[in-house]
Structure formats: C-alpha cells, structure tokens
C-alpha cells in the first residue's frame, strides 16, 4: 500500500522512540502496519516488555540510599 512503512522502518521508529515525533500521517501508517503485521506487533511488544522488566528489576534499588550519612558528610564540607 502506498504510504505504509516497511517492517524495517517500523522497527526503527519503535526502538528509537522516534515514533511520537513523526507526522500524524506517518504515525497513522505505522498504526495500520501494526494492525496487519504480527511480526512487528511481536517486536513492539518485546521492546516494551524489556523496558518494563528493567524498571521492575531496579525499582527498589535506591531504597537503601544512606541519606543521613551523606547529609553529615556534606555538612562538614
């Protein structure tokens, strides 16, 4: 179809987070492509799942931060 992006273009836009900065026309083409292409749908879902997993994995990594200790150090400087 004229105006529809190829899978390679869709993958590039999805992985680079550049999709939101495209024209409405381009975004429409991508949305239509995703409706029709299960491979690109799977790819986009995988990219999202990877981001979610990283977020979950590190969500509590800052909880043990030693705030009072650092404040003491900074006050002495």
């Amino acid at each position: 179809m004229i105006g529809m992006p190829a899978c390679k273009d869709v993958a590039q836009l999805v992985a680079s987070d550049e999709l939101t900065r495209q024209s409405w026309y381009k975004r429409l083409g991508v949305a239509m492509h995703l409706l029709m292409c299960r491979h690109c749908r799977a790819y986009a879902q995988q990219i999202r799942a990877i981001g979610r997993s990283a977020r979950d994995l590190y969500a509590n990594s800052g909880a043990e931060a030693r705030v009072d200790e650092l404040l003491e150090i900074l006050k002495r400087k």
Partner: protein
C-alpha cells in the same frame, strides 16, 4: 507508542529563586535535594551496572561534586539534570572497558540481517506468549545489560528506569535527540537479540 510510566515532572525544582538558595548552602534546601534525589541517583547507578558499594560511592561523590560546583551554578539547568550529568561522567569512568561506545556498532548489521531488500522480516522475532516472554526477560536481562556499552546502557536506564524525557536525557548525555534515538535503538536491539538467543537455548 505511548509510555505507560509517569514521566517525572521536574518543574518543582527549576525555580530560580529556589536554586539561588543553594549557593549560601542553606541547609533545608540541601537536605531537600539529597532526600529527593539520592535514591534516584543510587538506583540509576545500580541500573547502570555498578555493584551496591560502588553505586553508593558514585552517588556520594556525585553530591559532593555538585556541592563543590554549586557556587558556579547559573540556574540554566535543572538540579536533577545536573546531578545525573555528574553521575553519568562518573559511570563512564568506572565502566570504561565494558564494550566501547563507537560510531558504528555490529548490532546494526545484526538487525539489518533480519530484513530483506524490501524491508520485510525474513527472520522475524521469536514470538512467545506474553507471560513466558516476561519470564525469559526477567531471567536474562541482567546478563544482557552487561553486554551494553556504558553510554547505551545509560540512555536505556535514564529513559526506562528513570522515566526521563528525551530533552532531559539529551542534556545529561550531551547528545542530540537523533543520537539519543540511535543509542536507544542499539541498546534495545542488543537486549532483544541477547534475550532471544538465550530463549533459543532452552
């Protein structure tokens, strides 16, 4: 593609008057900055690949540097942007040698090889059911993150773990938005390919 996480608002800490209070080292303000941002800085340092004690050291030294430079602060940037810029430079020093950030990256060719001349998939992603995929990701993501060069990994962390906007990440990493897109494209594909390779070996 909409982000499903809340992009953290930084409006509260960019008021020029608020920032001016840092220079005379007004204690309440400094405490507020440390309480609010130390956990985020530690989290990002861990996500960037530093071990717990390394992350604590890097975070501490980030705030010490921040305080030392506060006198020269001109209020053009936001406190959080500044803090993470300092952290980024420290992470780059500490993670030097874990893969090099270069102009070209072999991941580009690997991804390219999945498409034919018309841009259609010839080796499409291995589709697993969502729950199975999530489990595979959880099990493999730590190892796969280790293969990412530090700047790519930082781009990924600031976007996905810290939820920062493109504008803020670009200031922190000192890259254009196009470069940031390239970094994200490379690190995400690297992770996806690595995870798929692990899945296949089951």
């Amino acid at each position: 593609m909409r982000h499903s996480y809340p992009l953290v608002s930084i409006a509260a800490h960019s008021d020029a008057e608020f920032l001016a209070n840092i220079r005379p080292r007004e204690p309440n303000t400094l405490e507020e900055i440390v309480r609010k941002y130390l956990p985020q800085v530690v989290r990002a340092a861990r996500a960037a690949g530093l071990a717990p004690h390394e992350a604590d050291d890097a975070a501490q030294s980030t705030f010490i540097t921040f305080l030392e430079k506060a006198e020269t602060f001109e209020g053009r940037s936001h406190v959080r942007t500044w803090l993470f810029g300092i952290l980024f430079r420290k992470v780059m020093e500490m993670r030097r040698g874990i893969g090099r950030d270069r102009e070209t990256d072999e991941i580009d060719d690997i991804v390219e090889s999945r498409f034919n001349a018309n841009g259609s998939w010839i080796r499409p992603p291995q589709a697993a059911d969502a729950e199975l995929y999530a489990r595979q990701v959880r099990e493999g993501i730590d190892d796969c993150l280790e293969t990412a060069p530090p700047k790519q990994r930082m781009a990924f962390v600031l976007r996905e773990v810290e939820g920062m906007t493109t504008a803020e990440v670009c200031k922190i990493l000192e890259v254009t938005d196009t470069n940031f897109g390239v970094l994200l494209y490379r690190v995400r594909n690297r992770l996806r390919e690595c995870l798929e390779a692990k899945g296949v070996r089951r």
